[in-house]
């Protein structure tokens, strides 16, 4: 088990570094005012949004044990805290953890 864990870590880090390195190499020569830069900027934001949505709607790990309704409630309430707190990032984040722990404990 221990040997396979080390190999799994190495393979995981290689697969992760590959995307980062290719991105760094291929970004050379791209100007920040160019259309291709703007396009990649949109791709990056959309990909992140897709990742976040998938993490919340189809979670893996322990979050999968919380029901859809609980997760949806936490997201809506946290966004509410975000806007009420004048777009502060820390309050809704801490609120979400407390809210999730409390709701998961009750239901």
């Amino acid at each position: 088990m221990s040997v396979s864990i080390v190999y799994a870590i190495l393979v995981t880090s290689l697969a992760t570094f590959l995307s980062r390195f290719l991105g760094a190499v291929s970004s050379q020569g791209i100007k920040e005012t160019s259309k291709i830069f703007k396009w990649f900027n949109c791709l990056a934001y959309a990909t992140l949004a897709a990742l976040i949505a998938r993490t919340i709607i189809f979670p893996v790990g322990v979050l999968n044990e919380a029901g859809y309704l609980i997760r949806l409630t936490v997201v809506i309430l946290s966004l509410g805290v975000f806007f009420v707190s004048k777009r502060n990032y820390v309050y809704p984040t801490i609120f979400s953890a407390v809210c999730m722990a409390v709701l998961a404990g009750f239901f």
């Binding site: 970004s27 992140l48 998938r54 993490t55 893996v60 990032y89 984040t93 404990g105």
Partner: protein, 234 residues
């Protein structure tokens, strides 16, 4: 070499009132606890965070190990999940490229590309002269990377004190933090549409291909948002 003043300015950026350090640290606490439950020892857990430094990738590796997947399966699954790092790198490095800076800094610091560091840099790069941005970026990356390693360490040793509800609370922190940052960053029509379309299309594509859903959602949503934005401008 590295401009220490700018480096530490970047390093200290995680101490800002709206810093992702708390959310990031809590998520890696959850990862540390998860890795311990999977049978990792402390060295392997720290080694994993140091070398991978990407939450979804670590989760996929953990899941794959749990079901006894082969190394090739793990490589492909992690690569697909972390392919989002490619457009993130391409949309960040041109902001930091300067002819007076050596190439090795860019190749070395690409390891720090992760959502938290990327969002901090995107929010702050305009306040740093272009020549010094790479040092600032290395500072941000080192700081978030340190938080991740520390979080894994804490999670590993405190896992027995964390019950299921607390683990769930820790797991929701990062998505909520990123969600708020994305909503906060949605100041132009292209970025707003990118975020909206990505969030809608990602889960839809999940029904057709769970492995490719993030990438497909990002490419289709991002391209549509870019084109709509360009048409709107012209």
């Amino acid at each position: 070499m590295i401009n220490k003043k700018i480096f530490f300015k970047g390093y200290k950026s995680i101490l800002a009132h709206d810093s992702p350090a708390i959310a990031l640290g809590c998520c890696f606490i959850a990862i540390g606890a998860l890795l311990k439950n999977l049978g990792f020892n402390i060295q392997e857990s720290i080694f994993s965070t140091m070398l991978t430094y990407a939450l979804p990738g670590s989760l996929v590796m953990a899941e794959s190990l749990l079901v006894g997947a082969s190394l090739l399966n793990i490589f492909l699954a992690v690569w697909f999940v972390n392919a989002r790092l490619y457009p993130m790198a391409v949309s960040l490095f041109p902001l930091m490229m300067h002819k007076n800076q050596p190439k090795w800094k860019y190749y070395f610091s690409c390891h720090f590309i992760a959502v938290s560091a990327w969002l901090i840099m995107k929010s702050n790069y305009k306040s740093i002269p272009k020549e010094q941005r790479i040092d600032y970026w290395i500072g941000i990356g080192s700081a978030t990377w340190s938080v991740a390693v520390l979080g894994t360490f804490i999670g590993f040793y405190f896992s027995e004190f964390l019950n299921k509800e607390i683990m769930m609370g820790l797991a929701i922190l990062n998505p909520i933090y990123f969600l708020c940052m994305m909503v906060g960053a949605s100041k132009t029509i292209q970025i707003t549409l990118s975020v909206l379309l990505g969030a809608i299309l990602g889960p839809i594509f999940y029904f057709f291909s769970p492995e490719w859903s993030i990438l497909f959602g990002g490419v289709v949503g991002g391209t549509a948002a870019y084109l709509i934005g360009e048409i709107n401008v012209s």
